[in-house]
Symmetry: C2
């Protein structure tokens, strides 16, 4: 074992980097995903890896530890080796982590010789009959031959698993290993944004699939987070709240106090770390603006509440991106709240529309370019642009926008005016009493279109919309100037949306959304289209 070597090297390294390997864990989780630009190695993180210089020896030791951990006898994997590996991994630079992950992807991949050998055997065997009853009356010889078939098929299925699966599985059962794997995947995702290599992508798909299985809703526990919880947990809620940042302890206390609820999903092997959490406000009616929720002080007495409003859902682990942890969260929270307070009959959200402005700006920019080309080219216009060009604005909207064009903004057509207004850095439009009334009907109509009609692979383009629709919600109402924060204006023109969960429809709506991508919406929203 290289434990001693590793310890010496790590100690040397630690002195130079001036923080312990342990501390880099938490540091890493937070820093890397949010500030990928901070990394000095820049875009070509792996291509320069031959000049790794002074870290080479540490890298070699960590890699050797990885090898020991993978090749240890089947079930008796040593916790010490895995601890060494984790510690060593955290001492590596992102560049060296990338190198290590590439080695993992390449050298501990599928044993393809074995696969080819088994395929040869497999193709030579007779497929067992698929008739239910044939087998009951089959001869012992037939039975033996189908036994062989099933065994070879089993072997082939297992041979197609990469060797690194063992490593992942061993880490999963190792104390702290599941969280380590989530950090490792966060690194992997970051590295993939720079070096999109097929083998690393395959490693990521595999790890994602495994994590999704290990974190299935069946293994997650719903826990109500209250002011009585340990500070170490509460500080995480403050740190992770992604939708409406928590400004101070008083703010947090309010969100856990009377008229409010907070629930988190926890995994038994990641104690004290909520993987996703949801904040609920108990209200008399479905709130239209986030200000009502965040600054509604004091809240109404709980026995007067008829509505539970989900106003914030945050997932906390960048390494679990793409894994749907919230799948059963809302349903379980609804059941819990309903049990505690039977008088609550409406379950709704007040949700951001994170992709709206981005979609609108890119639509306006491409369409106003097409319009420009058409105008310049006259009749012999570019056939490509006319194929893709569409009427984004109604005639009266075009007119209203052009009327603004004189002073505060300019543009040769309505779309250009709108584009210029919306992309101006200081977001003046949102505070101008002259511009705001003109933009309101336009942004509201386009927002309804964005939510109900813009899709990607048959599902709602907006990620939050997709989340709630697949959970069985419907689009109930969009609210003008519901989030006046800078982020709110920037992301969605200040518009927020209420999704509503109706207990009697949740199953059906979820199924029809999955089946055909059907988005259920209230008549009020439909009338805006």
């Amino acid at each position: 074992m290289s434990k001693k070597n590793l310890a010496i090297l790590l100690r040397a390294r630690m002195r130079s980097s001036n923080h312990s390997a342990k501390s880099s864990l938490s540091q890493f989780t937070k820093e890397i995903p949010s500030n990928p630009q901070d990394n000095q190695s820049g875009d070509h993180i792996l291509r320069n890896s031959s000049n790794f210089g002074t870290n080479g020896r540490v890298y070699d030791v960590v890699r050797e530890t990885m090898h020991s951990a993978i090749s240890a006898t089947k079930t008796g994997g040593s916790d010490i080796t895995l601890n060494d590996f984790e510690e060593g991994y955290f001492s590596l630079s992102l560049e060296d982590r990338g190198k290590l992950l590439l080695a993992l992807a390449k050298e501990y991949d599928v044993n393809r010789e074995q696969v080819r050998e088994l395929i040869k055997q497999y193709l030579g065997l007779e497929t067992p009959s698929s008739d239910d009853y044939a087998e009951l009356h089959s001869s012992p010889k037939k039975e033996a031959s189908s036994s062989v078939f099933y065994r070879v098929e089993w072997s082939l299925r297992h041979a197609l698993k990469p060797t690194y699966e063992t490593f992942f599985e061993r880490l999963n059962t190792h104390p702290g290993g599941l969280q380590f794997l989530s950090i490792l995947r966060a690194d992997l995702l970051l590295i993939l944004t720079k070096e999109n290599m097929p083998s690393l992508r395959a490693l990521d798909s595999y790890l994602k699939e495994k994590l999704g299985m290990w974190l299935s809703p069946a293994t997650l526990e719903l826990h109500q987070i209250t002011w009585d919880d340990p500070a170490s947990l509460l500080e995480k809620i403050v740190a992770y709240e992604a939708v409406h940042p928590i400004s101070n302890l008083l703010d947090l206390k309010r969100r856990l106090g009377i008229g409010r609820r907070c629930f988190g999903y926890f995994h038994p092997s990641i104690p004290g770390e909520p993987l996703i959490f949801i904040e609920v406000a108990l209200m008399e009616t479905v709130a239209q603006t986030i200000q009502e929720v965040l600054w509604d002080n004091p809240p109404i007495p709980e026995n007067q509440a008829t509505c539970a409003l989900f106003y914030s859902i945050s997932s906390t682990q960048p390494g679990l991106a793409g894994i749907n942890l919230g799948k059963f969260l809302i349903k379980r929270v609804i059941t819990l709240v309903k049990k505690e307070m039977p008088h609550v009959s409406t379950f709704a959200t007040l949700s951001p529309i994170p992709g709206y402005m981005q979609w609108l700006l890119s639509k306006l920019s491409s369409q106003s370019r097409f319009a420009e080309e058409e105008r310049e080219g006259g009749t012999k216009s570019n056939p490509t642009s006319s194929t893709f060009s569409e009427k984004v604005l109604l005639p009266e909207e075009e007119q209203a926008l052009m009327s603004l064009s004189d002073d505060s903004s300019s543009g040769s057509n309505g779309m250009e005016v709108l584009l210029n207004l919306l992309s101006a850095k200081n977001c003046d439009w949102a505070t101008s009493p002259r511009i705001l009334p003109v933009l309101e009907p336009i942004l509201m109509r386009l927002c309804a279109r964005y939510l109900l009609q813009e899709k990607k692979r048959g599902k709602a383009l907006d990620s939050v919309a997709n989340f709630h629709l697949q959970n069985g919600a419907m689009v109930e109402r969009i609210n003008w100037m519901a989030d006046r924060s800078e982020k709110g204006i920037h992301q969605s023109g200040g518009i927020m949306v209420n999704y509503v969960y109706r207990l009697e429809n949740i199953e059906d709506f979820a199924q029809s959304y999955f089946g055909s991508g059907q988005i259920h919406a209230s008549p009020g929203i439909h009338s805006r289209l």
Copy 2:
């Protein structure tokens, strides 16, 4: 949906069977595995299934529900359908359950046409280079081709999964579904003892693998069971205790009281149901007999304890047979106890040796037959028997046994005498002051041999020995007349064994046992061989 039909049929059926579908769940879990003989359909449970008579319509509806549950769109599986299925399943006779499971195994098996198609594609593709760095400098064309390769490999891996995997996964995330799957597997195991069909065996292997994954130690929570726990949990401890039956509430209270501990592994989605539990006695020295543990009343003050004795480990779910749930249990319990009571320095078990007598009787019976043949055949003895014949007894043991032969037992050689003594129904030998001293050294020596030398596939033949050895224990001591209960005498001639866990050796011992099957034992045990 066939919900209405099902409800009508079930109601009709319920009236005739006179208990509700819900109740058959708990009833089934307990009855079937212990009393397989009660089943009237007898040995040929599936072969007669064409005459299923009046249950045919219920069966058809349940099967249709199973089909709906499997073919529902990928992620939007309906909880209602799954509930219907579970309810319907419980209303079926074991015979019909067998038919249904066979249909599941056959009709929702691997899509082999798709597999063959993908294999064809796979074999036509170029395998990506396994060199770490080749990919970094590879051409875009090469990169695209290895992307295709990984994609096809991924598809092939997934195509080799049977369709019923979706069903199992959906049930796993369905509330109560994991426990349902464990009951389903208990049925499957029972059916396999009667109809060992390859497709059903394949279904079982797959389900076992899945359950093993879902119940990985990472998802299990260790909970100390105390007198403050709900009665609904405590009654399960009474019902499930498999090693030393709990006779009454007072007995249970003692096992949870001062000087005693009880810990269970729980899964978040099977609340209130311990999957495996372990009972611990805090003692001054390692107990030699189970009577000391069970009837040591009052126990010593806890601060005088230096030894934590694991005297009973019971797994509770017959459907989880073969899944090693106890893997990390002992290690975690040791850590917990050590933390609470640092003065406890010895962690040992007082364990049964469940396979000892069975092994010994079959050994004596075959060997005394060989001896008989040899004696009769003289020099021209059967070559087969002499190949397998071995000296089970030492000359002095032979002599001592023959001296008993006169009155209380008979036999033409020592082995026969021993065999006759041990297999006598009333176990007189165990209470005879004349026979006991003669048998003691013989049974103790053979027991040491059984524990240390008798193996199956390179692992200890005795299941309990194998369990502790793979957890990193060593064989410390065997104890004469340590369990005088009928079961104890019958299973192991009353002998019990102390396995000892030494913290500093657990890892190494577990690894060397896994790697080479090495069994660590104290000098005391070795000297008995």
